[in-house]
Amino acid sequence: MLDLSPQDWTAVALSLRVAAISTVVALPFGIAVAMLLARGSFWGKSVLDAVVHLPLVLPPVVTGYLLLISLGRRAPLGAFLADHFGIVFSFRWTGAAVACGVMAFPLLVRAIRLSIEAIDRRLEDAAATLAASRFWIFATVTLPLALPGIIAGMMLAFARALGEFGATITFVSNIPGETQTISVAIYTLIQVPGGDADALKLVFVSIVICFAALLASEWLARRATARLHGA
């Protein structure tokens, strides 16, 4: 039934890989920013909050374009990274991962931040009286208790990354095997005469994957919460 062409399967595999990497790499930043927003009080906090949420509200193509002019091969930062570290983003899967990571970041931060804010700070005070430094309080009390939110955030970010299109196609365009993710492949296929059938198959595949990711997120978060409270 699902006789997709090798190119289509490449798109699926690429999407999964890119989404996974972008989620994994975004996670430490997501936790750090969520902690800052949940617990910090500093000048510019609302500015940080707004910047973090920008990819949620900016047109994805705009985000992609901003990435292009900052991390593109001819852009200052992009050229520096390419010349000194050999790391290239534009028109590479690494760029697709960055685009996905950036677009999914606000979702990650929101979920983790909510989770952190829900933690009873009096528990953290108690840990402090028990000789735990700020770092250890974070590692042994805050982080474990925020785990359900972190998991939910990660799965949501993963699903969002899987579906990323606008920023991806603007920043890294459409190179099969390199940057042609599922969404881009579908978009390409609907322009190919007779490509509708294949496009629909890919649509089906992407719905199934996203559904599975969301269900898994629910289940994992619930299990983590139950385990947390001694079930």
Binding site: D120, R122, L123, D125, A126, A127, A128, T129, L130, A131, A132, S133, R134, W136, T140, V141, P144, L145, R227, L228, H229, G230, A231
Partner: protein, 243 residues
């Protein structure tokens, strides 16, 4: 008992706590000034008198606006000298009103937490002694979510004790328990006072409770210390209430 001896050795005979602190809390000015020399000092007064705020300042959870707090030769807080030792370094145990056990850790890990964080070597004798003192041996594998209120408080006391505190603060530890639980736990607290040899600062508005536990009393009302003395102050206070 070897364990108790260890505790005796680790507390430096009579511990002296000097508190002279002032804090503005909204429209309420808190001004606490007292000295405590070992034993179990009660911080007694009606609700809202500022008792919890004072012990929070001793613990380092609340920062006074001015004054000094000294524990033996250690300056914990000195406004003029800009000294404010962080909570985690004061080595002052705290038993909270609601226990505040870590829900994601077992009872055993809760008990072990302070020792581990403080970097102390494992001391099974001390552990067993405290567990026996508080009769929580059968609860070790459980999670806090599965404990009754009384059991939780006992574990909270054990957790604070096992971090080898120089001083133990207790904030109305029996307040959230019903009369039957209170009667059940008081003996453990008396044993704590007698055997653990850690000086206690015990906050409560309940004179009857304090009469059994306290060896000295600091009376607080509307943010100020109005009397210092022995437990006879509790009788006077009770008399006032009946008058």
């Amino acid at each position: 008992m070897a364990g108790a001896a260890r505790y005796r050795a680790s507390s430096r005979g009579l511990t002296m706590l000097v508190v002279k602190a002032k804090k503005q809390l909204g429209d309420f000015t808190l001004s606490g000034s007292f000295t405590s020399e070992g034993g179990a000092t009660a911080l007694f007064g009606p609700s809202g008198a500022g008792k919890t705020s004072i012990i929070n300042m001793i613990a380092g959870l609340l920062r006074p606006d001015s004054g000094r707090i000294l524990l033996d030769d250690d300056v914990l807080f000195d406004h003029a000298a800009h000294i404010d030792v962080p909570v985690s370094r004061r080595r002052i145990g705290y038993v909270f009103q609601e226990g505040r056990l870590f829900p994601h850790l077992s009872v055993r890990h809760n008990l072990d937490y302070g020792r581990w964080m403080g970097g102390y070597p494992s001391d099974p004798d001390a552990f067993d002694h405290v567990v026996e003192l508080l009769d929580i041996g059968h609860l070790l594998g459980r999670r806090p979510g599965k404990l009754s209120g009384g059991e939780r408080q006992r574990v909270a006391v054990g957790r604070a004790l096992l971090m080898r505190p120089r001083l133990l603060l207790l904030d109305e530890p029996l307040a959230s328990l019903d009369a039957a639980r209170k009667r059940e736990i008081l003996p453990y607290l008396e044993r704590l006072r007698d055997e653990a040899r850690v000086p206690l600062i015990y906050v409560s508005h309940n004179a009857a409770e304090l009469r059994r536990i306290a060896t000295s009393v600091v009376q607080l009302e509307a943010g100020t210390v109005i009397a210092r003395g022995g437990i006879e102050l509790l009788d006077a206070a009770q008399a006032d209430m009946l008058a």
